[in-house]
Point group: C2
Chain length 203, copies 2
Amino acid sequence: MQQESARRSNRERTEETREKLIAAARRLFIEKSYAETGTPEIVRSAGLTRGALYHHFADKQALLQAVVEREAEQVAKEIEQGSDDAASPVRALIDGGRAYLAAMTEPGRTRLLLLDGPAVLGRARMDEIDSRHGNRTLREGLAAAMRAGAIRRLPLDPLTGLLGAAFDRAALTIEAGADADACHRALAGLIEGLSAGKTGGAD
Amino acid sequence: MQQESARRSNRERTEETREKLIAAARRLFIEKSYAETGTPEIVRSAGLTRGALYHHFADKQALLQAVVEREAEQVAKEIEQGSDDAASPVRALIDGGRAYLAAMTEPGRTRLLLLDGPAVLGRARMDEIDSRHGNRTLREGLAAAMRAGAIRRLPLDPLTGLLGAAFDRAALTIEAGADADACHRALAGLIEGLSAGKTGGAD
DNA sequence: CGATTAACATACAGGCTGCATGCATGCAAC
DNA sequence: GTTGCATGCATGCAGCCTGTATGTTAATCG
């Protein structure tokens, strides 16, 4: 009766089910929000039951974490594809930022990665995910620019976090309907300031 | 029997009850989180019942909004008290930032204003609250500095948002145990960069 | 081919939210 | 001042959700 569906191994079956759950959860978490989406709705949308969900994920939070992790990975991939070569380290940073903002245009990413993720999983877990995917390229870019003497030397990790937060906010603001070009200019100004600001470095 | 409690007018009674609910909710939202705190626990902690809560607030979100609003107001007040006079516009910005970070040291404020608030109330409502209390001073400071020619001219509103986000992230990072001084330096570097970076201002 | 384990569905317990109902007290008008 | 209404608040209820325990089918392995 179930020829094509029963022919898959346990391994494939697991992968497929997890995939369906993550996809359905992603869809609903984006459309509504994590809090306003119930597990019954998720599994209904995935064509499964809550039994499958709680078999593969410890709880609802773990499902969100899987969704977030995958999304962060995807964003990192798009950024790396977008910014390969750059004239100068500073230009590389600005280009990377632009690629990040472009990636965050994908609907729902801001909600997943910047709102629900931090609130539900906590900033610690989000930082850990971020450092593996999102902020990694930014951090490397800043380190390279510092080594090259293109920007003033500042504490690397805090600066990475601060700039990353500025990028995040820019993504949110743009999605909220603000002037994207103005945001890009402000962001570029912030970065360029790092390169020129060697005057006040007497700390 | 209830002499001192029955002697208050309806007006006072309302104020007092709302106050108790907000205080209890604040305490628990900070200790745990918004999501993990139930209304039964809140009213128990306040010595009331859920009837009182839902009489004064439309729903649990409205209670959080009241808590957040009050907290943002308090932060703004502390900042204004902390930074009165400043030598230069740029120094005023840095001092203001330092005052903000100091205010955000108060336990739980980061969770209320930077995590649960945006996630539950949505960024639109939070932006509205922020623009009335928190970011207002920052925005005015940036505008003044631009008028004085102390920093390069960039789109004001986006820049305010971006810098505000950097401040927020600094507060979170510091609370997470990072080196506070390094965060302060990175933040100051970001701001000072705006003042020196007149090279790329060909806009 | 029998036994074990994994994948999944179903049923259940506890808790929570929001509302509707009910009571008691403050308040205003006559 | 007492009559009537509105306000402040407590209690009870309906519906939903989460997490878990139990049962069933299908795959894997000796």
